[in-house]
Symmetry: C2
Subunit: 224 residues, 2 copies
Amino acid sequence: MGQTIKTAAVQPPPRERILAAARDLFYRHGIRAVGVDAIAEAAATNKMTLYRHFGSKDELISAYLQELAKEGDDLWQRLRDTYPDDPHAQIEAWVQHVEQVLTDCSERGCAMANAAVEMREIDHPARQIIDDYKTRKRDQLVRLFSEAGYGEPEQVADEVFLLFEGARISIQCCSKGPALRVVRMLRSLLADHAPKVEVEALAAKNAVSEREAGTKSSAKSKET
Amino acid sequence: MGQTIKTAAVQPPPRERILAAARDLFYRHGIRAVGVDAIAEAAATNKMTLYRHFGSKDELISAYLQELAKEGDDLWQRLRDTYPDDPHAQIEAWVQHVEQVLTDCSERGCAMANAAVEMREIDHPARQIIDDYKTRKRDQLVRLFSEAGYGEPEQVADEVFLLFEGARISIQCCSKGPALRVVRMLRSLLADHAPKVEVEALAAKNAVSEREAGTKSSAKSKET
DNA sequence: CCACGACGTTACTGGTCAGTAACATAGTGT
DNA sequence: ACACTATGTTACTGACCAGTAACGTCGTGG
């Protein structure tokens, strides 16, 4: 029995491997800096198979960004589902996610934003994906703050959004000081805008949710 | 008289033309996306002359970034000199500069940050220039807010810095909403931290400095 | 007038890259 | 055994790109 032993039996299908390799290389070295040969090799396959699954490098880039967008959306949804009907806990969990992202030593900024910088052609399909994703993220923050009863949820969301974006870009090109202090900023900013009645209740709750959410966030997401 | 008429007599020397062309093309299309041939052609010269002035593309990139850094520093200094011993007016002028940068329709983010995204190799000479510049900018903000008597100038500077960075990156990949509202954010943030005694005095002064500084900022800087 | 230096022109090298063609191989279902 | 499909392999094209060599031109300063 077993004359047809699958070499590395549990290896995922080529398409997945290619996408995973592209994701890693694109994020680490940049989209333009990575050739399709390198991706195929990293995926333990070859260029032909790559081109059978993705018609062109641009298509692969789009698939890469769409995967990132989906994971970012899923992560957000999971965050929401973990604390149903408790927007304050959701906010706190998100802040902790932000902290985790920014203190990850492999952090090289937001893959989406970096892609937007690299793909400057305004008609590149990638841009639409990025634009949609970022707009969605901002709107999700607005909604969350609105549900939490914050005054001026749009303003708070814009500010939080820009602070996070700023942190992720500046962690790539500065001495990282400001970026690493962004969590403290977020906390005090949110405290300032939280509905007054809940302040002390929220403070009490943080001690709890801090442990709960801290352990289960193991997904290595690179998104907002 | 005048048998040797200089064709296009007032044309600047090749080195300047090359740097100007590089600056334009690098900023508009990205550093990696622009070849030296294209730069030479845009500078109305040729590749050989380019390589006589800049030993390599990397050297040209460094010169490009250093020029940007110098202009950014000069602009900051001019801002300071325009309102000597009046840090509040300097702050207001800087905010107006920010507004002008962000509403410029040719804005494609901070050239420095974009370069950092494109040049991922940690040992690339460009990275040091960018890092130094950004750190300097942040420190200049700290100093300015400190001179203006703000409480916690470091915190305010970090927040302002990250908001601006966030605005400049997000203007490239989002529906630009949040970025365009950053000036309002800055104003209210600064108002919150300004020394209490000066608030109404500052408000009165804004009406004046708004006209003064608004007209003379014609330099097309792309820097923080 | 001459020599020198700055600049221009052409053509080339070697390398990389996206994308394709042609053929070989292996698993799978019938 | 057969056919079909997914995958692997090799080799290629054409384009682009960074960088160089060799030579030609022109203006300036002595």
